[in-house]
Protein backbone atom coordinates (compact mmCIF):
# COMPACT_ATOMS: atom_id res chain seq x y z
CA UNK A 1 0.00 0.00 0.00
CA UNK A 2 1.24 3.46 -0.81
CA UNK A 3 1.77 6.11 1.83
CA UNK A 4 -1.39 7.87 0.62
CA UNK A 5 -3.29 4.57 0.81
CA UNK A 6 -2.21 4.06 4.42
CA UNK A 7 -3.31 7.64 5.24
CA UNK A 8 -6.77 7.15 3.70
CA UNK A 9 -7.17 3.85 5.53
CA UNK A 10 -6.12 5.31 8.90
CA UNK A 11 -8.44 8.28 8.46
CA UNK A 12 -11.42 6.10 7.63
CA UNK A 13 -10.71 3.83 10.61
CA UNK A 14 -10.32 6.77 13.00
CA UNK A 15 -13.59 8.29 11.77
CA UNK A 16 -15.55 5.06 12.21
CA UNK A 17 -14.18 4.53 15.73
CA UNK A 18 -14.84 8.14 16.76
CA UNK A 19 -18.42 8.12 15.46
CA UNK A 20 -19.10 4.75 17.08
CA UNK A 21 -17.70 5.63 20.51
CA UNK A 22 -19.81 8.79 20.64
CA UNK A 23 -22.88 7.55 18.78
CA UNK A 24 -23.39 4.20 20.52
CA UNK A 25 -24.17 5.63 24.00
CA UNK A 26 -26.58 8.12 22.43
CA UNK A 27 -28.35 5.27 20.68
CA UNK A 28 -28.25 2.89 23.68
CA UNK A 29 -29.71 5.29 26.23
CA UNK A 30 -32.19 7.23 24.13
CA UNK A 31 -35.47 8.14 25.83
CA UNK A 32 -38.62 6.15 25.07
CA UNK A 33 -36.74 2.99 24.23
CA UNK A 34 -35.88 0.03 26.42
CA UNK A 35 -32.47 -0.21 28.07
CA UNK A 36 -30.62 -3.27 29.27
CA UNK A 37 -28.15 -3.45 32.12
CA UNK A 38 -25.31 -4.24 29.72
CA UNK A 39 -26.37 -1.41 27.40
CA UNK A 40 -26.10 1.08 30.26
CA UNK A 41 -22.75 -0.42 31.34
CA UNK A 42 -21.42 -0.12 27.77
CA UNK A 43 -22.64 3.45 27.51
CA UNK A 44 -20.77 4.34 30.66
CA UNK A 45 -17.57 2.69 29.42
CA UNK A 46 -17.74 4.37 26.02
CA UNK A 47 -18.43 7.78 27.52
CA UNK A 48 -15.36 7.42 29.75
CA UNK A 49 -13.02 6.83 26.81
CA UNK A 50 -14.79 9.06 24.27
CA UNK A 51 -13.03 12.36 25.17
CA UNK A 52 -9.48 10.99 24.76
CA UNK A 53 -10.30 8.59 21.92
CA UNK A 54 -11.90 11.35 19.85
CA UNK A 55 -8.81 13.54 20.32
CA UNK A 56 -6.62 10.71 18.99
CA UNK A 57 -9.03 10.27 16.07
CA UNK A 58 -8.94 14.02 15.43
CA UNK A 59 -5.11 13.99 15.29
CA UNK A 60 -5.12 11.02 12.89
CA UNK A 61 -7.70 12.61 10.58
CA UNK A 62 -6.15 16.09 10.60
CA UNK A 63 -2.64 14.64 10.12
CA UNK A 64 -3.85 12.45 7.28
CA UNK A 65 -5.66 15.36 5.66
CA UNK A 66 -2.54 17.54 5.84
CA UNK A 67 -0.48 14.80 4.21
CA UNK A 68 -3.01 14.03 1.47
CA UNK A 69 -3.82 17.66 0.65
CA UNK A 70 -0.26 18.14 -0.60
CA UNK A 71 -0.30 15.09 -2.89
CA UNK A 72 -0.19 15.79 -6.66
CA UNK A 73 -3.36 15.14 -8.63
CA UNK A 74 -3.82 14.12 -12.24
CA UNK A 75 -6.73 16.46 -12.84
CA UNK A 76 -8.09 19.59 -11.25
CA UNK A 77 -11.44 17.88 -10.68
CA UNK A 78 -9.78 15.12 -8.69
CA UNK A 79 -7.96 17.65 -6.56
CA UNK A 80 -11.19 19.52 -5.81
CA UNK A 81 -12.98 16.29 -4.92
CA UNK A 82 -10.15 15.31 -2.62
CA UNK A 83 -10.20 18.64 -0.81
CA UNK A 84 -13.97 18.33 -0.34
CA UNK A 85 -13.68 14.82 1.12
CA UNK A 86 -10.79 15.79 3.41
CA UNK A 87 -12.62 18.89 4.62
CA UNK A 88 -15.72 16.83 5.35
CA UNK A 89 -13.66 14.27 7.29
CA UNK A 90 -12.05 16.99 9.42
CA UNK A 91 -15.45 18.60 10.02
CA UNK A 92 -17.04 15.29 11.12
CA UNK A 93 -14.20 14.28 13.43
CA UNK A 94 -14.14 17.80 14.94
CA UNK A 95 -17.89 17.67 15.51
CA UNK A 96 -17.65 14.25 17.13
CA UNK A 97 -14.74 15.33 19.38
CA UNK A 98 -16.82 18.34 20.45
CA UNK A 99 -19.92 16.22 21.11
CA UNK A 100 -17.86 13.85 23.28
CA UNK A 101 -17.49 16.80 25.68
CA UNK A 102 -21.18 17.67 25.72
CA UNK A 103 -24.03 16.35 27.85
CA UNK A 104 -26.97 16.33 25.48
CA UNK A 105 -29.38 15.38 28.28
CA UNK A 106 -28.65 18.81 29.73
CA UNK A 107 -29.55 20.35 26.38
CA UNK A 108 -32.99 18.79 26.74
CA UNK A 109 -33.30 19.76 30.41
CA UNK A 110 -31.06 22.64 31.39
CA UNK A 111 -29.54 22.19 34.85
CA UNK A 112 -30.41 24.53 37.70
CA UNK A 113 -26.84 24.87 38.95
CA UNK A 114 -27.42 27.75 41.39
CA UNK A 115 -30.89 26.92 42.72
CA UNK A 116 -32.56 29.85 44.40
CA UNK A 117 -35.07 29.48 47.20
CA UNK A 118 -37.63 31.99 48.42
CA UNK A 119 -39.67 32.14 51.62
CA UNK A 120 -43.13 30.58 51.44
CA UNK A 121 -44.77 33.98 51.75
CA UNK A 122 -42.77 35.30 48.78
CA UNK A 123 -43.71 32.39 46.49
CA UNK A 124 -46.72 34.28 45.17
CA UNK A 125 -46.32 32.78 41.68
CA UNK A 126 -47.02 29.27 42.99
CA UNK A 127 -50.71 28.26 43.19
CA UNK A 128 -51.71 26.77 46.55
CA UNK A 129 -53.13 23.62 44.95
CA UNK A 130 -49.92 22.78 43.08
CA UNK A 131 -48.10 19.68 44.32
CA UNK A 132 -44.64 20.04 45.83
CA UNK A 133 -41.97 17.64 46.97
CA UNK A 134 -41.46 18.64 50.59
CA UNK A 135 -38.62 17.72 52.88
CA UNK A 136 -38.09 18.80 56.49
CA UNK A 137 -35.51 17.99 59.11
CA UNK A 138 -34.33 19.65 62.32
CA UNK A 139 -36.29 22.85 61.76
CA UNK A 140 -35.30 23.27 58.12
CA UNK A 141 -37.85 22.74 55.36
CA UNK A 142 -37.64 22.89 51.56
CA UNK A 143 -40.38 22.63 48.95
CA UNK A 144 -39.71 21.73 45.32
CA UNK A 145 -42.74 22.54 43.14
CA UNK A 146 -43.24 19.61 40.76
CA UNK A 147 -43.71 21.90 37.75
CA UNK A 148 -40.16 23.19 38.40
CA UNK A 149 -38.22 20.13 39.52
CA UNK A 150 -40.13 18.07 36.95
CA UNK A 151 -38.34 20.10 34.30
CA UNK A 152 -34.82 19.96 35.75
CA UNK A 153 -35.30 16.40 37.10
CA UNK A 154 -32.74 16.95 39.81
CA UNK A 155 -31.60 19.82 42.00
CA UNK A 156 -28.56 19.77 44.29
CA UNK A 157 -29.55 21.51 47.52
CA UNK A 158 -28.78 21.68 51.22
CA UNK A 159 -31.38 21.02 53.91
CA UNK A 160 -30.14 22.68 57.08
CA UNK A 161 -26.57 21.39 56.94
CA UNK A 162 -27.34 18.17 55.08
CA UNK A 163 -26.47 18.14 51.36
CA UNK A 164 -29.28 16.49 49.42
CA UNK A 165 -30.26 15.89 45.83
CA UNK A 166 -33.95 16.31 45.13
CA UNK A 167 -35.13 14.20 42.20
CA UNK A 168 -38.29 13.85 40.20
Amino acid sequence: MTRAGVAWFAMAGALVVAVAVVGLPVWLIQPFSAQSGSGVAWSWQLRQIAPSLTVIAWLVVVGGAALLAGQPSRTRARRVARVVVLTAAVAVVSGVAWFARQNHFEWMFRPFSDPRFVAAGAATDLPAEEPVIGVARHGAALAFPITRIGYHHLVNATLGDVPIVATY
Binding site: A34, V40, R110, L154
Partner: protein, 244 residues
Amino acid sequence: MWERALDGRTLSFRLIGINNQNFLMEDLETGSWWQQVNGEAVSGPMKGRRLTHVLHDEVTFALWRGEYPETQVLGLDDRGSRISSTWETGTAKAPVVTPSVQGDPLEPRALVIGVTVGDAARAYPKDVVSKTRAILDDLGGRAIAVLDAGDGHSIRVFSRTLDGQSVDLLHKVDSRPARYIDERSGSEFDFSGRAVSGPLEGRQLTRVPHISDYWFDWRTYHPATTVYAPAGTVSRSAPGAGSR
Protein backbone atom coordinates in the same frame (compact mmCIF):
# COMPACT_ATOMS: atom_id res chain seq x y z
CA MET B 1 -34.68 12.51 47.43
CA TRP B 2 -31.23 11.43 48.53
CA GLU B 3 -28.44 12.53 50.81
CA ARG B 4 -25.39 13.32 48.73
CA ALA B 5 -22.70 13.04 51.38
CA LEU B 6 -20.87 9.74 51.04
CA ASP B 7 -17.59 8.58 52.57
CA GLY B 8 -16.85 12.05 53.91
CA ARG B 9 -17.29 13.90 50.64
CA THR B 10 -20.20 15.75 49.11
CA LEU B 11 -21.29 14.59 45.67
CA SER B 12 -22.78 16.92 43.06
CA PHE B 13 -25.15 15.37 40.58
CA ARG B 14 -26.16 16.09 37.03
CA LEU B 15 -28.59 14.46 34.64
CA ILE B 16 -26.69 12.01 32.42
CA GLY B 17 -29.14 9.59 30.82
CA ILE B 18 -32.15 7.38 31.09
CA ASN B 19 -32.62 3.73 31.95
CA ASN B 20 -36.04 2.33 31.11
CA GLN B 21 -37.75 5.68 31.66
CA ASN B 22 -36.11 6.30 34.98
CA PHE B 23 -33.30 8.80 34.82
CA LEU B 24 -29.64 8.28 35.54
CA MET B 25 -27.56 10.89 37.30
CA GLU B 26 -23.80 11.26 37.35
CA ASP B 27 -21.79 12.51 40.28
CA LEU B 28 -19.07 14.90 39.17
CA GLU B 29 -16.65 13.67 41.83
CA THR B 30 -16.32 10.01 40.75
CA GLY B 31 -18.15 9.97 37.41
CA SER B 32 -20.39 7.12 38.59
CA TRP B 33 -23.93 6.75 37.28
CA TRP B 34 -26.76 6.45 39.77
CA GLN B 35 -30.35 5.29 39.26
CA GLN B 36 -32.80 7.94 40.39
CA VAL B 37 -35.52 5.60 41.65
CA ASN B 38 -33.46 3.60 44.14
CA GLY B 39 -30.30 5.69 44.64
CA GLU B 40 -28.05 2.83 43.54
CA ALA B 41 -24.87 3.31 41.52
CA VAL B 42 -25.17 1.16 38.38
CA SER B 43 -21.84 2.03 36.70
CA GLY B 44 -18.50 3.49 37.63
CA PRO B 45 -16.24 3.36 40.70
CA MET B 46 -19.20 3.54 43.12
CA LYS B 47 -21.11 0.71 41.43
CA GLY B 48 -23.27 -1.17 43.94
CA ARG B 49 -23.24 1.64 46.51
CA ARG B 50 -26.50 3.23 47.62
CA LEU B 51 -27.30 6.78 48.64
CA THR B 52 -29.16 7.35 51.90
CA HIS B 53 -32.85 7.96 51.30
CA VAL B 54 -34.38 11.16 52.64
CA LEU B 55 -37.97 10.94 53.83
CA HIS B 56 -40.02 13.37 51.81
CA ASP B 57 -43.56 14.31 50.95
CA GLU B 58 -45.56 14.82 47.81
CA VAL B 59 -48.33 17.16 48.94
CA THR B 60 -49.99 20.40 47.86
CA PHE B 61 -48.15 23.66 48.48
CA ALA B 62 -51.09 24.78 50.66
CA LEU B 63 -50.74 21.77 52.95
CA TRP B 64 -46.93 22.00 53.10
CA ARG B 65 -46.73 25.67 54.00
CA GLY B 66 -49.49 25.14 56.56
CA GLU B 67 -47.37 22.53 58.32
CA TYR B 68 -44.01 24.22 57.70
CA PRO B 69 -44.56 28.00 57.54
CA GLU B 70 -40.76 28.52 57.63
CA THR B 71 -40.27 26.46 54.44
CA GLN B 72 -38.11 27.73 51.61
CA VAL B 73 -39.47 27.19 48.10
CA LEU B 74 -37.45 26.46 44.97
CA GLY B 75 -37.74 29.46 42.66
CA LEU B 76 -37.66 29.54 38.88
CA ASP B 77 -34.37 29.64 36.99
CA ASP B 78 -33.47 32.63 34.80
CA ARG B 79 -35.37 31.22 31.85
CA GLY B 80 -38.44 30.39 33.92
CA SER B 81 -38.05 26.67 33.05
CA ARG B 82 -41.07 24.64 34.09
CA ILE B 83 -43.36 21.93 32.85
CA SER B 84 -47.07 22.43 32.35
CA SER B 85 -49.24 21.92 35.42
CA THR B 86 -51.24 19.48 33.28
CA TRP B 87 -48.10 17.40 32.66
CA GLU B 88 -49.75 14.29 34.13
CA THR B 89 -52.18 14.14 31.23
CA GLY B 90 -49.36 14.27 28.69
CA THR B 91 -47.11 11.83 30.52
CA ALA B 92 -49.97 9.35 30.85
CA LYS B 93 -49.96 8.99 27.06
CA ALA B 94 -46.20 8.44 26.74
CA PRO B 95 -45.18 4.98 25.59
CA VAL B 96 -43.99 2.36 28.07
CA VAL B 97 -40.93 0.34 27.07
CA THR B 98 -40.49 -2.14 29.88
CA PRO B 99 -41.75 -5.62 28.96
CA SER B 100 -45.49 -6.04 29.33
CA VAL B 101 -46.68 -8.93 31.45
CA GLN B 102 -49.71 -11.06 30.73
CA GLY B 103 -52.36 -10.83 33.40
CA ASP B 104 -50.73 -7.74 34.88
CA PRO B 105 -53.04 -6.54 37.66
CA LEU B 106 -52.64 -2.85 36.72
CA GLU B 107 -52.18 -0.71 33.65
CA PRO B 108 -48.47 0.16 33.10
CA ARG B 109 -49.11 3.85 33.76
CA ALA B 110 -51.42 3.35 36.72
CA LEU B 111 -50.21 5.57 39.57
CA VAL B 112 -49.27 3.65 42.69
CA ILE B 113 -48.09 4.43 46.18
CA GLY B 114 -45.12 2.11 46.61
CA VAL B 115 -44.16 1.01 50.11
CA THR B 116 -41.39 -1.29 51.27
CA VAL B 117 -41.00 -2.67 54.79
CA GLY B 118 -37.93 -4.90 55.11
CA ASP B 119 -38.06 -7.25 52.12
CA ALA B 120 -41.78 -6.77 51.56
CA ALA B 121 -42.97 -4.41 48.84
CA ARG B 122 -46.55 -3.47 48.04
CA ALA B 123 -48.18 -1.13 45.55
CA TYR B 124 -51.34 0.73 46.57
CA PRO B 125 -53.20 1.93 43.47
CA LYS B 126 -53.64 5.67 43.87
CA ASP B 127 -57.30 5.60 42.83
CA VAL B 128 -58.03 3.05 45.57
CA VAL B 129 -56.20 5.19 48.14
CA SER B 130 -58.07 8.32 47.08
CA LYS B 131 -61.41 6.56 47.25
CA THR B 132 -60.80 4.90 50.60
CA ARG B 133 -58.93 7.89 52.15
CA ALA B 134 -57.51 5.58 54.87
CA ILE B 135 -56.18 2.10 54.11
CA LEU B 136 -55.21 -0.15 56.99
CA ASP B 137 -52.80 -2.90 56.09
CA ASP B 138 -50.05 -5.13 57.38
CA LEU B 139 -46.82 -5.23 55.42
CA GLY B 140 -43.64 -7.08 56.31
CA GLY B 141 -44.93 -7.64 59.84
CA ARG B 142 -45.74 -4.00 60.43
CA ALA B 143 -49.21 -2.48 60.75
CA ILE B 144 -49.40 0.53 58.45
CA ALA B 145 -51.96 3.12 57.39
CA VAL B 146 -52.04 4.84 53.99
CA LEU B 147 -53.77 8.21 54.42
CA ASP B 148 -55.08 10.50 51.70
CA ALA B 149 -55.70 14.18 52.50
CA GLY B 150 -58.38 14.45 49.84
CA ASP B 151 -56.80 17.26 47.79
CA GLY B 152 -55.86 15.02 44.88
CA HIS B 153 -52.13 14.94 45.67
CA SER B 154 -51.30 14.51 49.32
CA ILE B 155 -50.75 10.96 50.59
CA ARG B 156 -48.74 9.73 53.58
CA VAL B 157 -47.98 6.33 55.05
CA PHE B 158 -47.63 5.71 58.78
CA SER B 159 -46.72 2.90 61.10
CA ARG B 160 -49.93 2.58 63.13
CA THR B 161 -48.79 0.97 66.35
CA LEU B 162 -48.68 2.90 69.62
CA ASP B 163 -47.68 1.19 72.89
CA GLY B 164 -48.12 -2.21 71.24
CA GLN B 165 -51.70 -1.41 70.26
CA SER B 166 -52.74 -0.94 66.68
CA VAL B 167 -54.36 2.34 65.75
CA ASP B 168 -57.23 1.63 63.36
CA LEU B 169 -57.83 4.84 61.47
CA LEU B 170 -61.00 5.61 59.60
CA HIS B 171 -61.45 8.74 57.54
CA LYS B 172 -63.81 11.15 59.29
CA VAL B 173 -66.50 11.90 56.73
CA ASP B 174 -66.55 15.49 55.40
CA SER B 175 -63.63 16.56 57.61
CA ARG B 176 -61.65 19.47 56.20
CA PRO B 177 -58.73 19.50 56.78
CA ALA B 178 -58.81 15.74 56.80
CA ARG B 179 -59.19 13.95 60.13
CA TYR B 180 -58.99 10.26 60.90
CA ILE B 181 -60.58 8.52 63.85
CA ASP B 182 -59.00 5.61 65.69
CA GLU B 183 -61.80 3.07 66.10
CA ARG B 184 -60.19 1.58 69.18
CA SER B 185 -59.60 4.70 71.30
CA GLY B 186 -61.83 7.24 69.60
CA SER B 187 -58.85 9.57 69.24
CA GLU B 188 -58.76 11.90 66.27
CA PHE B 189 -55.63 12.19 64.12
CA ASP B 190 -54.65 14.80 61.56
CA PHE B 191 -52.82 14.23 58.26
CA SER B 192 -49.43 14.71 59.92
CA GLY B 193 -50.11 11.59 61.98
CA ARG B 194 -50.58 13.45 65.25
CA ALA B 195 -53.50 12.77 67.59
CA VAL B 196 -55.29 16.08 68.06
CA SER B 197 -57.98 14.90 70.48
CA GLY B 198 -59.06 11.90 72.52
CA PRO B 199 -57.08 9.64 74.87
CA LEU B 200 -54.09 9.58 72.52
CA GLU B 201 -53.94 13.38 72.10
CA GLY B 202 -50.41 14.59 71.44
CA ARG B 203 -49.13 11.20 70.31
CA GLN B 204 -47.40 10.99 66.96
CA LEU B 205 -47.45 8.10 64.49
CA THR B 206 -44.13 7.33 62.76
CA ARG B 207 -43.85 7.91 59.03
CA VAL B 208 -43.09 5.05 56.68
CA PRO B 209 -41.30 6.10 53.46
CA HIS B 210 -43.22 5.69 50.23
CA ILE B 211 -42.87 6.78 46.66
CA SER B 212 -45.49 7.83 44.18
CA ASP B 213 -44.67 5.99 40.97
CA TYR B 214 -45.99 4.44 37.79
CA TRP B 215 -46.81 0.77 38.13
CA PHE B 216 -44.40 -0.26 35.34
CA ASP B 217 -41.52 1.52 37.09
CA TRP B 218 -42.34 0.25 40.59
CA ARG B 219 -42.69 -3.30 39.26
CA THR B 220 -39.33 -3.08 37.46
CA TYR B 221 -37.43 -2.13 40.61
CA HIS B 222 -39.51 -4.25 43.02
CA PRO B 223 -40.09 -7.47 41.08
CA ALA B 224 -41.47 -9.29 44.14
CA THR B 225 -44.08 -6.61 44.86
CA THR B 226 -47.67 -7.44 45.67
CA VAL B 227 -50.61 -5.21 44.81
CA TYR B 228 -53.07 -4.10 47.45
CA ALA B 229 -56.60 -5.20 46.65
CA PRO B 230 -59.52 -3.12 47.95
CA ALA B 231 -61.07 -6.07 49.77
CA GLY B 232 -58.12 -5.79 52.12
CA THR B 233 -57.70 -9.48 52.55
CA VAL B 234 -56.29 -10.52 49.19
CA SER B 235 -53.05 -9.15 47.85
CA ARG B 236 -52.15 -10.28 44.39
CA SER B 237 -48.60 -10.95 43.36
CA ALA B 238 -47.29 -9.33 40.23
CA PRO B 239 -47.11 -12.08 37.59
CA GLY B 240 -43.57 -13.07 36.86
CA ALA B 241 -42.50 -11.86 40.27
CA GLY B 242 -38.90 -12.65 40.92
CA SER B 243 -38.23 -13.81 37.38
CA ARG B 244 -36.36 -10.69 36.41
